[in-house]
């Protein structure tokens, strides 16, 4: 006797209970705290904030804990929460030129006003596993000095003074910046929407696309003009008081790529820009983003679109890991009825094939 499969409701509840148990792990091992995640897995928190599009270290830490360290799951949790938040307005544009810099390097000039500042970086570490770190290691306190009073102008601004690089496009104050989380995306998309898409895009996807452009698929000869990381002030123009009020500071990484020059009969040749910006210390992300921002400008700069990284519909439609993972993983959902329909068709075609095989050869069908 057959009894139809039932009991989904209890199965789901039990699966969730088991998941919570597995998340906790061995109960003899101390539970990880949000502060520990935020302080000691800070780059993971930075990534979840960036791709989750929500600057909140505590919620990002909670998401990482809840997702058992699965970054895309954590990003998804943050995004779903963010989608429910009301909008009060948009802040003034942040000025990264006035960043309180913790790290700032340029690969285009040996020395720059304000100097090269290595800051906290994996660069030049030898990637040897450090057994000391396994337990109870107290690192030396960092070396400190007085902050330099010198200004740190952006390298691209220095190039811009001589007209060697295209000017940054000036914002039109009357045109609000696009927001693809509030308006459906349509193509062709302008650079504001492209940059928003790239800022939310999966780091691995951008890394691979940027890398492909370096290897010749849409090559544009990039130099890391400048990468800077530190705190910037966020200000909000309050209608009630009539001036911008400070809301606080956020940590950002900015990458400005300097790319191959272009010119024409009417324009002197100059370098072009690729731009990357992300929350926290996210250098791989911002560098990849800057490479892809530049490749996606192919249409605007009159370059032939030949590679995936130059194709905005391809890049923007597939860069979002929350969308991608949802659709890939939805294959786990039942597809019984469609599969049954395909089975029926396939059986019919096979029957006809066998019948045709068994019968004597027919004359060529007239088309």
């Amino acid at each position: 006797m057959y009894v139809a499969v039932k009991g989904g409701e209890r199965a789901i509840e039990n699966a969730h209970r088991l998941l919570a148990h597995e998340r906790r792990g061995d109960r003899d091992v101390a539970e990880v705290s949000l502060a520990q995640i935020s302080e000691q897995l800070s780059l993971a928190v930075d990534r979840v904030m960036s791709e989750g599009s929500l600057y909140d270290r505590e919620l990002a830490s909670l998401a990482i804990k809840q997702a058992r360290g699965d970054m895309i799951e954590a990003i998804f949790l943050v995004r779903a929460f963010r989608a429910t938040l009301p909008r009060f307005g948009a802040t003034e544009p942040v000025d990264t030129g006035r960043m309180a810099v913790r790290r700032r390097i340029s690969s285009t000039f040996k020395d720059i006003p304000g100097g090269q500042i290595l800051g906290p970086t994996f660069d030049y570490t030898h990637r040897l596993l450090d057994p000391q770190l396994a337990e109870g290691h107290v690192p030396e306190p960092p070396a400190t000095a007085e902050a330099s009073p010198a200004a740190m102008p952006r390298v691209t601004d220095i190039l811009g003074r001589d007209g060697l690089i295209e000017p940054s496009p000036q914002a039109d104050v009357d045109t609000p910046v696009g927001d693809l989380t509030r308006e459906p995306l349509s193509f062709p998309a302008d650079r504001d929407l492209r940059l928003q898409n790239l800022a939310r895009a999966d780091e691995g996807f951008l890394l691979a696309l940027g890398y492909s452009s370096q290897r010749g698929y849409g090559r544009n000869h990039p130099f890391a003009g400048e990468i800077r990381f530190g705190e910037v002030e966020v200000e909000f123009f309050a209608e009630d008081v009539g001036f911008a009020v400070p809301l606080g500071a956020i940590t950002l990484t900015e990458c400005q790529m300097v790319n191959q020059f272009k010119g024409s009969a009417t324009e002197a040749p100059c370098f072009t820009r690729g731009y990357g910006l992300a929350f926290g210390q996210s250098e791989r992300k911002t560098m990849s983003m800057a490479l892809v921002d530049r490749t996606l400008r192919a249409r605007e700069l009159g370059e032939e679109v030949v590679a995936p990284s130059q194709d905005e519909e391809f890049v923007m439609s597939h860069s979002d890991n929350v969308q991608a993972t949802g659709f890939v993983e939805h294959l786990k959902l039942p597809h019984y009825v469609d599969f049954q329909s395909e089975l029926g068709l396939l059986r019919k075609l096979r029957r006809e094939f066998e019948a045709a095989d068994a019968s004597p050869p027919m004359q060529e069908a007239a088309e």
Binding site: M1, Y2, V3, A4, V5, K6, G7, G8, E9, R10, A11, I12, E58, L59, L62, F76, R79, A80, F81, R82, A83, T84, P86, T181, R182, E183, P184, L185, S186, F187, P188, E313, S317, V322, Q323, T325, G326, F327, V328, E329, H330, L333, P334, H335, Y336, V337, D338, Q340, S341, E342, L343, G344, L345, K348, L349, E352, E367
Partner: protein
């Protein structure tokens, strides 16, 4: 940390208004895909976020909601979505097709005829019927605008040339109101005729692809075909093993590793209704028990 509080049916009222505007436009232009600013929902893209957003936007406190997946009220994703609305909207839920005012579905149209006043909300993975012929949205939108559907007919013709039949068994394209070619979502083509002249409002939501489209009540919906190769439904030629129905779409159930199989209604509400009326198939069915095979 502030504990988040959620609105009736989860979405905020601003978002609901935006979705309702898209739905109204979709109803005004049957079969046309209206872009909307799909939100991140607390379930993954590809798991019904479009349908969930449409349902959330149209649901009122007095609605009675039914959710099915593969025709069944008891598949895990249907349960999950039903629980979501029971929790966030507190609406009454049902498994009865006749009693529901809103039915959210994935991959099936109920066997029982829908009646006026009901809304059928489809979950749609890929709303663009031309997508597999032309991957670019810019291109497919142009093709729809010009009514340029030759490519689709060529595809169907090539199927006939190669296989002797149109080799599309689900998500079978239809023409709505003699204008737009539309993807009915991955329902088996068995269900296509139910869309035609249907008294209920049919709404389609694609969350990841950010599109909503609609078939207003009593609208002509025609499955694409050729005069010499007319559209045919597929149904495994057997009565349901539980309720002996010979007009319902059947699931194939593998019963052992020796190739034994049986065929039962995919629409569980329909099957149970028939059994309650005394119809019996070859397999005498026990009353369904929670967890019997779960």
């Amino acid at each position: 940390m502030n504990a988040p509080a959620y609105n009736f049916a989860y979405l905020d009222e601003q978002t609901k208004r935006m979705i309702r505007r898209a739905i109204l436009k979709a109803i005004a232009i049957p079969g046309y895909q209206v872009p909307f600013a799909s939100r991140e929902m607390p379930m993954p893209y590809g798991w019904g976020t479009g349908g969930v957003q449409v349902t959330a936007a149209i649901l009122g406190p007095s609605d009675v909601l039914k959710v099915i997946d593969q025709g069944s009220d008891d598949t895990t994703n249907a349960i999950s979505i039903r629980k979501f609305f029971a929790k966030t909207a507190g609406v009454e839920t049902t498994t009865s097709t006749a009693d529901a005012t809103v039915i959210q579905t994935r991959h099936r149209i109920p066997e029982a005829p829908l009646h006026a006043g009901q809304v059928l909300v489809y979950q749609v993975p890929i709303p663009e019927p031309l997508r597999f012929l032309e991957p670019r949205e810019t291109e497919t939108r142009r093709m729809h605008a010009l009514g340029e559907y030759g490519l689709m007919h060529v595809k169907l013709y090539e199927d006939i040339a190669r296989f002797g039949h149109i080799a599309t068994s689900y998500a079978y394209p239809v023409k709505v109101n003699a204008r737009y070619v539309m993807d009915p979502s991955p329902t088996p083509k068995f269900d296509n005729p139910k869309m035609d002249n249907c008294p209920a409002l049919q709404l389609f939501g694609a969350g990841r692809e950010k599109r909503i489209y609609a078939i207003p009540p009593y609208t002509r919906v025609v499955s694409l075909d050729f005069e010499d190769h007319p559209f045919t439904r597929y149904r495994f030629d057997a009565p349901c093993a539980l309720c002996a129905a010979d007009d319902s779409y059947l699931d194939e159930i593998i019963t052992d590793d020796q190739g034994s199989r049986m065929f039962v209604c995919s629409d569980t509400d329909y099957c149970e209704g028939r059994q309650a009326q005394g119809h019996r198939g070859t397999e005498s069915a026990a009353p369904h028990k929670e967890g019997a095979h779960g």
